[in-house]
């Protein structure tokens, strides 16, 4: 399954990381317009 996330900050990275942790078979792509993704959890 292909999971695409638009926006790589608090909400987007929380979802992407947890989804991938819980199901390693997921294909997760995060589209972030800026040059930084931040992950604070």
């Amino acid at each position: 399954m292909k999971f695409i996330v638009i926006g790589g900050d608090a909400a987007g990275m929380s979802a992407a990381s947890r989804a991938k942790r819980q199901d390693a078979s997921l294909e997760v792509i995060v589209l972030e317009q800026s040059q930084t993704v931040s992950y604070s959890a």
Partner: protein, 390 residues
Amino acid sequence: MVVRTAEAFRKKSGIDVRTGHRAESIDPGTATVSGRNEAGRPFTLPYDRLLIATGADPIMPRRPGFDLPGVAVVKTLDHARHIKTMLQERPIRKAVIMGMGYIAMEMAEALRMREVEVTMVKPRAQLLPWMAPELAETVGQELQAHQVQVRTGFDVARIEKSGQGLSVVAAGNETLAADLVIVAVGIQPNSQLAAAAGLELGPAKAIAVDRRLRTSNPAIYAAGDCADAYHVVTGQKVWIPLALRANRAGWAVADDLTGKPVSLQGVAGTAVFKVFDLQVARTGLSVAEAAQAGFQPATTVISASSRAHSHPGASPIQVQMVADKNSGRLLGAQMVGREGVAHRINAPAVALHAGLTVEQFSQTDLAYAPPFGPTWDPMLVAANQLLKLV
């Protein structure tokens, strides 16, 4: 905050992070998202599930002069770096801050620390309309004590160049000179992509989501500052953009996606911020919000001590508490003080999630020792007073 490079993140987590990639449209019909990378190259990607987590951006008033150099918003690290560079490159003696929210307050403090003269302006007459005048007065005094000028009733009509600096002109033509103007008048959800894709919007044009973070299209989630949420007190949709609920919503999306049961309770609007040496906190509804939601608000304002009577170093904690006259239900609390405020707000916040009445809250067993508060916690003093009114 931890900022990691996309490459490190990809290696470590197995997540394909594509920075410099801006999504420009979503086609729910073909289940694709399209956009452009930093080189201007277009891309189109198919999805099985999509999450919109585009956040919110500062509102820039569409009035003359807001595009002049020296006029800045504060949202990203890049904005902060930009302001820092301006402070280093040219003499900045005077700043005007538009807005009186927590970001405006934080900027006032940061600029005062660099000895910049600061004037805060807002169009409406009241300083912090969501709290009792007694509490707002304390905040006003704290700003004054740190030489921050506060100009209420100052509605900025335009900004003009004036010599080396800027002129901030109000509707009545009154003028403030500034080398730097910080625009912190509010933010709006980045929901344009969702709206263009035909997704339903909620309050403040945030993307409407259910308790599983699903939008009106079952293959598309939305989470964080771009999306709405349920309020635990009113049960109604609200838009209160804050970090915890953005992180939590992200987790909930992951859970729903991977087949775990999800149903988020919602938000109480619990928030805290610092104004120089003051802590300002709130949870739940203000009096005006309670009335608007159809409650019969009763309210009380008390001042208690941050430490036991005998303990040196005590300072006042002011509490406003709001309840519904008809049901006796606790609806909200606002608090101001020099210590013991930030985490004390969490007790009424939990009470709101549990739907406690003031009477039930007044019976809760809260901690006491002389360095941390009076025997009757300020929360309980307020609840006991409020109990007489419901």
